[in-house]
Symmetry: C2
Subunit: 198 residues, 2 copies
């Protein structure tokens, strides 16, 4: 006795989701079939619709439904600054700050040799092509401050500098409202090393 | 600036999965679109296929692709025993033990008034109809030993007894190979209360 094959196929298919193993996949499958068939049908449709309609912005590589994303199509943005982020969510976070008015480039990942993600797996070649268009003056690297994000930042900075571009990195330090007592020693050490003249 | 609408729809749609909030849904959406479009298309297909093909077994209520599931269709099983479980996975677990040869009834849930799941939300009416078919002699209640599972068991036992059926409950106690030192006090207390004569 095994689960019916279409149920088994659904459980297997759910395991492509990140962080979902056999137990969660099985729980999800039963939930979808027993409690929320409407939501399940909607999910199937949303996946197919997203695959069909989303493509990468020709200039910045983020997901968009047109040729150019809203930001790249906006003539009022500062075309001399190019901010490099790992994922579209990072771009949205920076947009929320209203503190940056340049353009973006989305790598769609980070260098992570252990996971088999090298320069060819992220859009590095396209970024280089984009950065040397003559208009871009400064590249602001805003990858995460994780091991992989930092490695990616170092690698990018090296490539950009050899092409005569000005490169910067978003600052590390204490969070706004942060107290020295509650911050981790690594962050505090960086905040000391990267102190600014007043 | 917001995420493109088809991406936003996919993120919303993923939130129907149990245990998936906005952050995980967003991570899943980017993973599907960026790293595994094949897996995503396959998932959409598997959902649609499962919704289209799976129905409930006419007799035991588990998921099946035919009218009757394999077990209910098996003439060699003991038709006098009916084991009541919460979910199809529980049925599969019991089948793996090879210790039970009767038939099943799958509630597809448990009583949980706080979540709005009362007797009408689980297949209680169908279970009663099934249990009084004249063939069934003993009802083995194998709901989980959680608060909800226990409440369901008590409720079922009451209903069955008033209909003159013999009712039993799977045993609580120490696991096979279990040591007294490592078992929780609640289980040990139950094992003492429910001790068997030798």
């Amino acid at each position: 006795m095994k689960a019916p094959s279409s149920l088994e196929q659904l459980i297997q298919a759910l395991k492509v989701l990140p962080g979902v193993g056999p137990k969660s996949a099985s729980r999800m499958a039963y939930h979808l079939l027993q409690r929320d068939q409407g939501g399940a049908a909607n999910l199937a449709h949303a996946i197919e619709y997203a695959i069909a309609t989303l493509k990468h912005c020709r200039r910045c590589n983020t997901f968009t439904e047109g040729e150019l994303c809203e930001i790249c199509a906006d003539e009022d943005r500062n075309h001399q600054q190019l901010c490099v982020v790992e994922m579209p969510t990072d771009l949205l976070m920076i947009e929320q700050t209203l503190a940056y008015h340049g353009l973006y480039f989305v790598l769609m990942g980070r260098l992570s040799p252990l996971d088999g993600i090298g320069p060819n797996e992220i859009a590095l070649a396209r970024l280089l092509e984009r950065a040397v268009d003559g208009e871009v003056q400064e590249v602001v690297i805003a990858t995460n401050f994780t091991v992989e994000g930092e490695a990616t930042a170092h690698y990018l900075a090296e490539l950009m500098r050899t092409r005569g571009l000005q490169v910067s990195r978003i600052a590390r330090g204490l969070p706004v409202g942060g107290e020295l007592e509650h911050v981790d020693p690594g962050t505090l050490a960086q905040a000391l090393v990267e102190r600014r003249k007043l």
